[in-house]
Symmetry: C2
Subunit: 248 residues, 2 copies
């Protein structure tokens, strides 16, 4: 009941302003930069962009990061810099805290809540990843290094951790097309297991957008693309926040 | 390369003894009790069964736990106790450490590795769950309380965390039928979101077993069963450990 009231309060508040300007769906990577644009930074606590390199990133993770990051900004013939085909998507461990009015909303809902893929504080222990989007090619690429806390079969990444990354990457991709969205279906085929500690590429491609339905395809491959680990399709529905809360 | 050598060492060692007696697939819940049966406890460090109640369990979690746990042992007319239709499955945060020769194997592979659903130490913050199996009815039931570190859409459980629990519950179920098994397919339909902090029931039913293929169905419902949150099918393949390692 308490939760119900809190959600009603959240609904009212978000209906006023935040929802129209932010992406409430998971993952929140692309929500935050937009919401912050017009607001003085002094209103918000310092936030860490967890998609930037840290000391736990291995050489393969760094190589791929530099490959895609280098294509986010290109130099023209005149020596000037301009936006490239790719864009790095920042990522945080909380969503509402950094959205418009978010510090207040976060306290209303659950002050301790953290985004599932970003709650592990120890660098390299959990999900280390960075996402890049390419609007022209209608795709997203994620470089993912799997930490030792994601174990399933001994020495290998848990199927649920792989599903989590697929949901996250395809969810980001869908939320670049319509917001907010929620996962309606994930159909995942596990082809070959992934070793703990290894770096893989996760690529999401837009298949179709029909009304509220966004269909994407996803592949998880070795970092050089030669080995297929997992392939999946995902269906997302664009929804209103009212629709979400109606179900409580 | 180093990982490759470690896995070869692991392969040789497991081929000698451990594999035939233990379940190497995830989740390891049912592995450990069997492996430990004939071995003196002094050989192993103290281990915590994480499926037992702790202070973070809410009233709904406790009510359901007591309901199923009470059916694990029944009293006969003569006042004697005997095994009931249900069996509680213990659960740990490591697999090999507690299997035959596991303390050694764990060091060889990754001493810091932890099972994905059990790596969060703070009680109530992550996945709180307990599994019960019913051999006659060919089903498994899991009582799951979702902690604040599993957030996706603000205030709700991440789709990946739900997929993780579905993979875990159906994986335990399949591993009661054949070992070792690995997930081949998960097809998940998300019907209605799950609030952070709530307790849900996850039920896995055996559909078919054909050769190496084990098909299960899974439903995630509210704790009273009245509301369907998620439904899924899962396909598992029974494999040899050699088959797994061949793919590296």
């Amino acid at each position: 009941m308490a939760m119900c009231l809190l959600l009603k309060a959240f609904h009212r508040l978000t209906a006023l302003s935040a929802v129209r300007r932010t992406r409430l769906c998971h993952p929140p990577a692309c929500v935050l930069s937009r919401a912050m644009v017009a607001l003085p930074s002094v209103l918000f606590p310092k936030r860490s962009d967890l998609s930037l390199p840290n000391s736990s990133w291995g050489s393969e993770m760094m190589r791929l990061y530099e490959h895609y990051n280098g294509q986010c900004e290109v130099e023209t013939q005149g020596g000037q810099k301009q936006r490239g085909l790719w864009r790095r998507l920042p990522s945080y461990n909380r969503s509402l805290k950094y959205a418009t009015g978010g510090a207040y909303l976060s306290k209303i809902i659950q002050s301790k809540a953290r985004f599932f893929t970003r709650h592990i504080r120890d660098p390299g222990a959990g999900f280390e990843y960075v996402l890049f989007s390419n609007k022209e090619e209608k795709k997203c690429v994620c470089i993912f290094q799997a930490g030792h806390l994601l174990e399933g079969f001994p020495g290998h990444v848990h199927g649920g951790a792989i599903a989590t990354m697929i949901d996250t990457v395809t969810g980001v991709h869908a939320s670049l097309i319509a917001v907010p969205v929620m996962t309606a279906n994930l159909n995942i085929n596990y082809r070959s297991p992934i070793l703990l500690g290894s770096t893989v590429l996760i690529e999401s491609s837009l298949d179709t957008k029909e009304g509220r339905k966004i269909h994407t395809s996803c592949k998880v491959t070795s970092s050089d693309g030669s080995k297929l680990h997992t392939e999946a399709t995902a269906l997302f529905l664009s929804i209103s926040v009212g629709h979400l809360l109606k179900g409580q």
